[in-house]
């Protein structure tokens, strides 16, 4: 179904339309949150909150006029920021805090190393500014192109390129420090 028609129906709280939107976007939003948070359970909770907030505000068309998916990513981003604000950004994550992930295929040692590598990367991303973290996740983990990221972040494509450059440099420095 055409997205514009779907959104029109969703504005009237049409269950079928909202269900389709949920099916269409919940996976992407979950992945985005997971990449930022790294905890499956928490990512599920926050994904649920994103869609509840979407429901609260969907009748305000101005909120999502330019890009519906971009709006969902923005809601997710704000929830992530809130989450870290509540938790306290200075809190260091110990190895005990590393979330338990489902078993990975292959060599157990490699799997553990991969998990630690992922968590190390997420920890490094968390040390970036929120905007830098957002552009890294959207560009390189979610695979959005520059134009799409620009829509999500409501910036020009040139600004996103510059932000991307600064973000990659900062991330490089953080990873080299460790």
């Amino acid at each position: 179904m055409d997205e514009a028609a779907l959104l029109e129906r969703a504005k009237a709280y049409d269950s079928a339309a909202l269900g389709l939107l949920y099916d269409r976007y919940s996976g992407r939003i979950y992945n985005y949150i997971y990449h930022r948070i790294g905890e499956p359970g928490l990512a599920e909770d926050l994904t649920g909150q994103v869609f509840l907030r979407m429901l609260e505000a969907i009748q305000n068309e101005r909120a999502w006029q330019s890009s519906f998916s971009g709006w969902l990513y923005r809601i997710a981003h704000n929830l992530i920021i809130d989450h870290y604000r509540r938790r306290g950004r200075s809190q260091q994550m110990s190895l005990e805090d590393v979330p338990t992930l489902p078993a990975l295929e292959g060599d157990p040692l490699e799997a553990v190393e991969e998990r630690l590598s992922q968590e190390r990367l997420r920890a490094a991303i968390r040390r970036l500014t929120p905007e830098q973290a957002q552009v890294i996740v959207l560009r390189f983990l979610e695979g959005l192109n520059i134009a799409e990221v620009a829509k999500v972040m409501r910036k020009s494509e040139g600004a996103i390129k510059a932000l991307q450059y600064r973000a990659v440099m900062a991330l490089r420095e953080i990873l080299e420090e460790e």
């Binding site: 269950s15 269900g19 450059y165």
Partner: protein, 548 residues
């Protein structure tokens, strides 16, 4: 362009080049001066991308999240319907307030522009005359600047009385007018003639009556004066019930004492003297002196309290004309179980409800199916049947269909429907899904209700993994339920592909061939009834897997 902008552009260019398959070396070769820095950045990006893998989401968590979301949607829909039903009282109030402010501002301008003489001259104006708007504007200014609550109420009563006197004057003069509005107590109710605030008003089949006015109640009348002194009600709206005769919306209407009208409207105006005006408590503008030329019996004085601003705003405009015209129109509203649906005629509770073509039915909260709890708005006819004006489904049928239970293989999983064993199963927000992760190819034990239209609405689905190890055993049927038997203590699942040979009954011996399941049960592929029940119940004998 700044150096940083250059570097940012180069990074992006290389990223795009790599995405379309260009080698890292080729890209770096284009920028030899920045190759080292660029390589480090691209390595970081590669490192990030390698961590892009996300562990698969738990299907249960996904299903729970979706169900929670759809439950929230349903809640929103209910709230929206409720708001619509209530008609946004706050917004209505604001609209009224804005109208008042506009009227007051306009009137102030009028007051400044017009001379005092004009205002005095307008005080005797009647509806339709040039100066009548000036008269009404002046009244509104007076009302606007009357702050004391009791004074405002008294003034409103005097203005209501003034409206009635204007109509008396118009009727006496034989004038015609549309949409005359006046407020007054109901003093007499006959079949086709009511008396409101001293005015005789004809009630016709097309007259819309809002609420259930009774003698003594305060009502607002919108009427036309077609000439010859007649006043025909277009709409009569209950504003305030008399304290001594409370009106309940669900009250059973009292039939008119006489089937035939006791007063027949004639071309002669039926004008009755108005009730005495309340004692003025403040100075008011000059009023037109009533000059009734009446000879009929004075009516009893009704001491109803006028309401300044009725807060009830009907959301719908009744338009249905009951036929035949009853001796008395009674608006009713009641709730009940929808027991029967025949075209144009429903049974709701013990009452017959007639549905004229196009009767709006609000099915926001559920389908108008037999068993649903519905609310009916309409007009009661003389024979007790209710002609529906509007019907709202409040709750869907509690038991919308017969219980239906089966076990079969999941063939497709969609957002709101699954296909299980060739059957379309509707997943609702409150459907419980448990067991193994829901995947195509697994077994689903579905507990559902089959609705009258044939739809299967799942209430509970238990997903089970299908084992692959084949087993054969013999045993006695101990219990037979839909999709699941117990054979000598072994739980045997039957799905759409299970072949049953013979006439199975509890107590009979059967030979079962199927797939061993993780929980110890067997998904039967073939069950052969061997013989009648023996007197003893030997334990099942598992045989080695059959070669296939």
């Amino acid at each position: 362009m700044s150096a940083q902008a250059d570097a940012a552009g180069i990074l992006q260019e290389c990223l795009e080049a790599l995405e379309v398959g260009e080698s890292l070396e080729a890209c770096l070769a284009r920028y030899p001066g920045q190759a080292q820095h660029l390589a480090a950045l691209l390595q970081t990006v590669t490192q990030v991308r390698q961590a892009a893998e996300v562990p698969p989401r738990s299907p249960e968590a996904v299903a729970r999240g979706r169900a929670a979301f759809l439950a929230a949607v349903a809640q929103r829909r209910r709230a929206l319907a409720e708001r619509r039903r209530r008609g946004f009282p706050l917004l209505s109030w604001l609209r009224v307030g804005r109208a008042w402010a506009t009227a007051a501002a306009a009137t102030l301008v009028v007051a400044l522009l017009l001379t005092a003489g004009t205002v005095i001259a307008a005080s005797g104006a009647l509806p339709g005359e040039t100066l009548y708007p000036v008269k009404r504007a002046t009244e509104e200014v007076q009302f606007f600047f009357t702050w004391d609550v009791s004074a405002r109420q008294a003034l409103r009563e005097r203005l209501d009385e003034r409206r009635r006197q204007e109509i008396v004057q118009m009727l006496e003069a034989g004038r015609t007018a549309e949409a005359l509005v006046f407020v007054g107590p109901v003093e007499k109710m006959e079949a086709t003639l009511w008396q409101v605030g001293g005015l005789g008003v004809e009630v016709q089949p097309t007259t819309v009556i809002e609420g259930q006015p009774q003698p003594g109640d305060q009502v607002q009348v919108v009427a036309t004066a077609p000439g010859q002194g007649r006043l025909i009600a277009q709409r009569i709206k209950l504003l305030k019930a008399a304290p001594s005769a409370p009106i309940l919306a669900t009250a059973t209407p009292t039939p008119s004492p006489t089937a035939l009208p006791t007063v027949v409207p004639t071309s002669t105006p039926t004008l009755l003297p108005p009730p005495p005006s309340p004692t003025p408590t403040e100075t008011e503008l000059p009023t037109a002196t009533p000059s009734p030329t009446l000879t009929s019996t004075p009516t009893p004085t009704v001491t109803a309290t006028a309401t300044r601003t009725p807060t009830h705003t009907p959301t719908d405009t009744p338009t249905f004309t009951p036929t035949p015209f009853p001796t008395r129109l009674v608006a009713v509203r009641f709730e009940g179980t929808l027991r029967e649906k025949v075209a144009g005629r429903w049974m709701v509770g013990a009452r017959t409800v007639l549905l004229p073509p196009g009767t709006p039915i609000d099915e926001t909260r559920g389908s108008a199916e037999v068993g649903a709890w519905v609310q009916v708005f309409g007009w009661e006819q003389a024979d007790g049947a209710v002609v529906a004006q509007r019907i709202v489904v409040l709750t869907p049928a509690e038991s919308p269909g017969e219980p239906y239970e089966f076990t079969d293989v999941i063939e497709a999983i969609g957002g709101q429907t699954w296909t299980v064993g060739g059957l379309l199963v509707h997943i609702r927000p409150d459907t419980v899904i448990d067991g193994a992760a829901a995947e195509v190819g697994r077994l689903a034990h579905v507990r559902a209700v089959r609705r009258p239209n044939g739809e299967i609405w799942a209430t509970h689905i238990t997903v089970e993994e299908i084992g692959t190890e084949e087993v054969d055993f013999e045993g006695l049927i101990e219990r037979m339920e839909a999709g699941r038997w117990q054979v000598s203590g072994v739980s045997v699942l039957l799905d759409g592909r299970t072949e049953v040979v013979g006439a199975p009954e509890v107590g009979k011996r059967v030979q079962v061939h199927g797939l061993a399941q993780a929980d110890g049960g067997v998904l039967a592929r073939r069950i052969v009834v061997l013989e009648a029940a023996p007197t003893t119940s030997p334990s099942p004998t598992l045989t080695p897997p059959r070669e296939s």
